[in-house]
C-alpha cells in the first residue's frame, strides 16, 4: 500500500546512483512547479508513467492511492471552476449580479475547470515521481548517497529513518483501526464525516504512543551498536557514478529544459 517501501528489482532505475536520483527528482519537482501549461505537464505525466514501466514497479500500488487522490482532485477542480474568474462560462450565474455582495457567484467557468485539472495533474505527477526514487533505492544506499553529497551521516540516517517511518505508520494505522473496530467503534465502517473526525483520538493516541515507544527502543538499539561513535562511518556498500548515471542526469536536464522552454513559449 505504501509508495515508500523498497521494492526489489533489477531495472536500470534501480541501478542508478542514488545521488543522481535525488538530484533528478529535485530538478523535476521544481520544473513541475514552474510549468503551467497543461500539455507540458501532461508530457511529464506520461514520461512518469513510462519510467514506472521501465522500473518494474507495480502499477497496482498507484490504484489505491488514486482513489484517495480522486476525491481531492474533484474538490480542487470544483473550487477552481466556481471561483476562478475567466472568459468562458459554461453556466450562467445562479445568483444574479444584482444581489449585493454575493452577486455573481455560482457560475462555472471553463477556465476554472481547466485550471483545476492542471493543478490536479501537477499534484498527481509530483506524487508519482517520488516512488521512483524511494521504491527503487534501499535505505542504506540512500543514506550513503546523502552522506556523499555532504550530509553528516547522523542527519542522513535521521532523514532515511523518517522516510521509513511512514510505511510503518500506515501499517500501524490499519492495525489500530481494526483493533478499535473490534471494540464496537462503528464510525470507520459506517459513520458520517464529522463522527469520523471525533473518533480520531482513538486512532492517533495509540499511534503516537506506539511511535514514541518504538523510537525509544530504537535509540537504545542504535546506541548498543555504537551509532554516533566515530566522526565518519564506513559503508560496506559503495556507490559510484557511472556513465549511465550521467546520461540519465543529462537526459532529465534536457527534458525539463525543453519542457520549460515550451512552457514559456506557449
Amino acid at each position: 500500500m505504501s509508495l515508500i517501501d523498497y521494492f526489489p528489482g533489477d531495472s536500470s532505475i534501480h541501478k542508478l546512483d542514488p545521488r543522481v536520483k535525488v538530484v533528478a527528482l529535485l530538478i523535476i519537482t521544481v520544473s513541475i512547479f514552474i510549468i503551467s501549461n497543461f500539455f507540458v505537464i501532461a508530457a511529464f505525466f506520461l514520461a512518469c508513467l513510462a519510467f514506472w514501466r521501465v522500473s518494474g514497479l507495480p502499477f497496482k500500488k498507484i490504484k489505491v492511492f488514486l482513489k484517495f487522490l480522486l476525491s481531492l482532485f474533484t474538490f480542487l477542480t470544483l473550487m477552481q471552476a466556481l471561483f476562478l474568474p475567466g472568459e468562458h462560462y459554461l453556466l450562467n450565474p445562479l445568483i444574479p449580479k444584482s444581489v449585493p455582495l454575493i452577486g455573481g457567484l455560482g457560475r462555472i467557468s471553463l477556465d476554472g475547470i481547466v485550471y483545476g485539472l492542471l493543478l490536479s495533474l501537477r499534484l498527481l505527477t509530483l506524487v508519482l515521481f517520488m516512488p521512483l526514487v524511494t521504491m527503487t533505492t534501499e535505505i542504506n544506499t540512500l543514506a550513503l548517497g546523502l552522506v556523499k553529497m555532504g550530509l553528516s551521516y547522523k542527519i542522513a540516517y535521521m532523514t532515511t529513518t523518517a522516510i521509513n517511518i511512514i510505511p510503518t505508520f500506515q501499517n500501524e494505522t490499519q492495525v489500530i483501526m481494526d483493533a478499535q473496530k473490534m471494540r464496537g467503534l462503528t464510525v470507520f465502517e459506517k459513520g458520517r464525516m464529522l463522527d469520523k473526525f471525533k473518533a480520531y483520538p482513538a486512532l492517533v493516541v495509540p499511534l503516537v504512543i506506539g511511535a514514541m515507544r518504538r523510537a525509544q527502543l530504537m535509540g537504545v538499539a542504535m546506541d548498543a551498536r555504537a551509532f554516533g561513535a566515530a566522526k565518519t562511518k564506513t559503508f560496506i556498500n559503495d556507490i559510484s557514478i557511472g556513465f549511465l548515471d550521467l546520461v540519465a542526469l543529462v537526459a532529465v536536464l534536457v527534458f525539463c529544459g525543453i519542457g520549460l522552454a515550451f512552457n514559456f513559449i506557449l
Partner: protein
C-alpha cells in the same frame, strides 16, 4: 578459576524526574564465561539492570545512578557507550525495533561500520557472525522477510560482529514461537561454548534456563533476592512464590511430591534426570 568480568558495586538507579529507585543497592560479580539468567516479575528491574551493563544507563538514559559498574575493567560511567559496545553486545525483546537496514548483511555490518572499521575487516566479521548464527544463506535477504527466530538470530549476529566479550539479552524470546525460542537458545549456548562468551539473559523461560544457566539472579523491586544455581533457586518454594517465578514442571512435580511426604532422592530441574529419579523412586522397595 575464571576471572571476574563484571563487577557491580552498590548500584542504584532511578529514572529522570521520578522518585522511585528502580534498582537498589545491587552488589554482584559475574565471572567470565558465565551464563547468568536474570529473573523476576515484570517491573522488578531486569531491563534496567541489563541497560546498566552496556552503558545505555547512564549515558543514553539520564536519571540518577549511584555506585559503579565495572565491565571488563572499564567503568561504565567513565566510558562512552560506543567503547562499551565493543565489550557488551545487546539484544532486545522486539525484533522489529532493533533491525534498521534492508539487507541481512548490512544489518550485521552496521555496528562495525559505526566504529569506522576498514571495509575488508567488516566483511570478514559479517561472514563469521552470520556463520555463527547459521544465517549465511540468508545474507542477501531483507530482514523483514525473516521469521521471528531468524530475526533474533540476526540481532545476535549484529551484536557479536562487534566482538564483545559479553552478550546481554533482554527477553529475546518472548515474542517468538517455540521453534524460534529453541533456535535462539541453541545459538547462545554455542557462542558460550565456542568463544567463552559471558551471557546475561533476562527471561521467564524456566525450562530453558534450567538447561543452560550457571546461576540465576532474582530481582524484586530493584533488589537482589537471590543469586544461586538453578538447582537452589528452583527448589526454593518460598522464593519462587514471592517472586512469581515458575520453576520447570519437573521441579514443580518434585516439590509437590515432597509436600505430600514422598520426596525424590534429589531435586531435578531437567526432564532426563526427573525421569531417572522418578523411575527409581517408584521402583525402590519400601522398607
Amino acid at each position: 578459576m575464571a576471572e571476574i568480568i563484571i563487577k557491580i558495586e552498590n548500584l542504584s538507579y532511578r529514572y529522570p524526574r521520578t522518585k522511585k529507585w528502580v534498582l537498589k543497592d545491587i552488589n554482584l560479580e559475574i565471572k567470565q564465561g558465565e551464563f547468568l539468567a536474570v529473573m523476576g516479575e515484570n517491573g522488578a528491574g531486569k531491563t534496567t539492570f541489563c541497560q546498566c551493563i552496556n552503558g545505555v544507563i547512564p549515558h543514553s538514559q539520564r536519571g540518577k545512578m549511584k555506585g559503579r559498574v565495572i565491565v571488563a575493567g572499564i567503568n561504565t560511567v567513565e566510558s562512552s557507550v560506543s567503547r562499551l559496545a565493543q565489550q557488551v553486545g545487546m539484544v532486545l525483546e522486539d525484533p522489529e525495533t532493533q533491525l534498521f537496514t534492508t539487507r541481512v548483511r548490512d544489518e550485521v555490518a552496521f555496528g562495525p561500520e559505526n566504529l569506522n572499521m576498514p571495509v575488508p575487516e567488516i566483511l570478514e566479521r559479517v561472514s563469521w557472525a552470520l556463520k555463527d548464527v547459521r544465517l549465511e544463506q540468508h545474507a542477501d535477504r531483507q530482514p523483514t522477510a525473516l521469521s521471528g527466530g531468524q530475526k533474533q538470530r540476526l540481532a545476535i549476529a549484529a551484536a557479536i560482529a562487534m566482538k564483545p566479550k559479553i552478550l546481554v539479552l533482554d527477553e529475546p524470546t518472548s515474542q517468538l514461537d517455540p521453534v524460534g525460542t529453541e533456535e535462539v537458545f541453541t545459538v547462545i549456548k554455542a557462542l558460550k561454548d565456542e568463544y567463552g562468551m559471558t551471557v546475561i539473559i533476562a527471561t521467564h523461560k524456566s525450562e530453558e534456563i534450567a538447561k543452560f544457566a550457571d546461576r540465576i539472579l532474582v530481582l524484586k523491586e530493584g533488589q537482589v533476592q537471590a543469586l544461586a544455581s538453578p538447582q537452589e533457586i528452583f527448589s526454593n518454594t518460598k522464593l519462587l512464590k514471592e517472586n512469581w517465578i515458575r520453576s520447570p514442571q519437573v521441579s514443580e512435580l518434585a516439590t509437590y511430591l515432597a509436600e505430600q511426604g514422598c520426596p525424590l532422592s534429589s531435586f531435578p530441574i531437567l526432564p532426563q534426570e526427573a525421569i531417572r529419579l522418578l523411575t527409581h523412586w517408584y521402583e525402590e522397595a519400601e522398607t
